[in-house]
Homo-oligomer: 225 residues x 2
DNA sequence: CGGCCAATAATCCATTTGGATAAGAAGGTA
DNA sequence: TACCTTCTTATCCAAATGGATTATTGGCCG
């Protein structure tokens, strides 16, 4: 039986190289190609069930929506899909965040370009998430150096708002997760309930969800709060 | 130049198998053999400086003093020595503890018995701690499941149902926090959406809330999930 | 046996929410 | 200035939710 794979990368050359590698193995079918996280989620929504990928190869660095956010939303919306990140070596923070967000495996771009198909085949056989040795070593060190301190340490560097939420939207999200309804949010922030609602709906579209409960689930699971 | 290796294992057969594998590569010298953690530390004390191993292959399960304690003490006493653990697959807690204690690498016993020497050679070249894919995958999951929770999880071992929720209600609560709506809950559990709704409303009254979002907020805050 | 509770299911109705769409005001930027 | 984004507000409509109530079934307990 064919195994559906999705490729998400902003560089066209990468996409075609990976695709070529995969298609050389007859068990793989590339059923979705996207050029960033948002594009991927959008395309997933309209994908026929038999095309839903079992594995998503996702670049970490992408415009519009990066791999971290995409894996966070994606692993919530499609729990059965396995996300394997493709990355360069030195982005420690993103590596860590993507793991927390639900990445299933982690491959170094250069290291695995050659044998990416073989790696996926192995993964398909034994169900173990593929991890490049270098990354594994890094993860081990992260755990050794007590994980938690590392999470904190990196926060002050950059505070890119997750999912490109605006400040106002984050403010609203905070109230949302407290279980408030539009009216209440409105009066807390001294704005019309209609406005509150508008903000909430905007948040939905950024998170690619469509209800309060889904937004809460995602926010809690991925630690947006 | 020769690379000194130490082997620590309580089974004589393992010791000799590993030793044989290593000696086939002429760059390796086995300068210390011990049968448990205590034995290893004792022998390290009286070892001439030129025999001090660069790498210690250490079994996890051993009598007298196990691999965890040995690596904890050893990595403190001999910071330059690299400890590579040899283990069976399922001892999650020990795997984790050994990492925290300072293990440099982690190999599955069976998986690596064949190519242990090659693995060490690679490690010697690129300085990256060797980790079997299965272990790497497990570590990744540990990080995903928030590391810290595993450390503490073992202390409180109570399973009193919170808020007097019935089993069915807890089942429903679990689906609720995933962001499902009545219809979806109903079809998941093979019951009518009306019944699902009824259960949810019953949950509300037990939790003293009156909306899904409030229920979620409470469930997450109090860790009912 | 009678009573109690959990689980199941349904109905009615008011409120809330989600989705689409439009549009004005304030701010920054090319 | 023209343009873009964010924040603001609004309206219409369909769908989902919350609240109240009633009813049947099957276990369990005294």
């Amino acid at each position: 039986m064919l195994v559906n794979i999705a490729i998400v990368d902003d560089k066209a050359s990468n996409r075609s190289i990976i695709k070529d590698k995969l298609l050389r193995h007859k068990i793989f079918e590339v059923s979705l190609i996207a050029e960033n996280g948002k594009d991927f989620l959008d395309k997933m929504k309209v994908l026929p069930p038999d095309k839903v990928p079992s594995v998503v190869l996702m670049d970490l660095e992408m415009p519009e929506m990066d791999g971290v956010d995409a894996v966070a939303a994606g692993s919530y919306l499609y729990p059965t899909v396995k996300f394997v990140m493709l990355t360069i070596f030195d982005d420690e923070e993103k590596i860590f965040k993507a793991i927390k967000a639900g990445a299933f495996g982690y491959l170094l771009k250069d290291e695995s370009a050659e044998n990416i198909a073989e790696t996926l085949e192995q993964m398909h056989e034994n169900g173990v998430g593929p991890i490049s040795p270098g990354i594994a070593h890094k993860i081990l060190q992260l755990v050794q150096n007590n994980t938690v301190s590392l999470i904190q340490k990196h926060i002050p560097e950059k505070d890119k708002t997750p999912f490109n939420l605006t400040e106002r939207e984050q403010e609203i999200l905070k109230l949302l997760v407290q279980g408030l309804q539009y009216k209440e949010i409105g009066s807390r922030l001294q704005i019309s309930p209609n406005t509150a609602k508008k903000h909430v709906l905007n948040i939905y579209s950024k998170l690619h969800v469509n209800s309060k409960t889904q937004a809460l689930a995602l926010a809690y699971e991925k630690g947006l709060i």
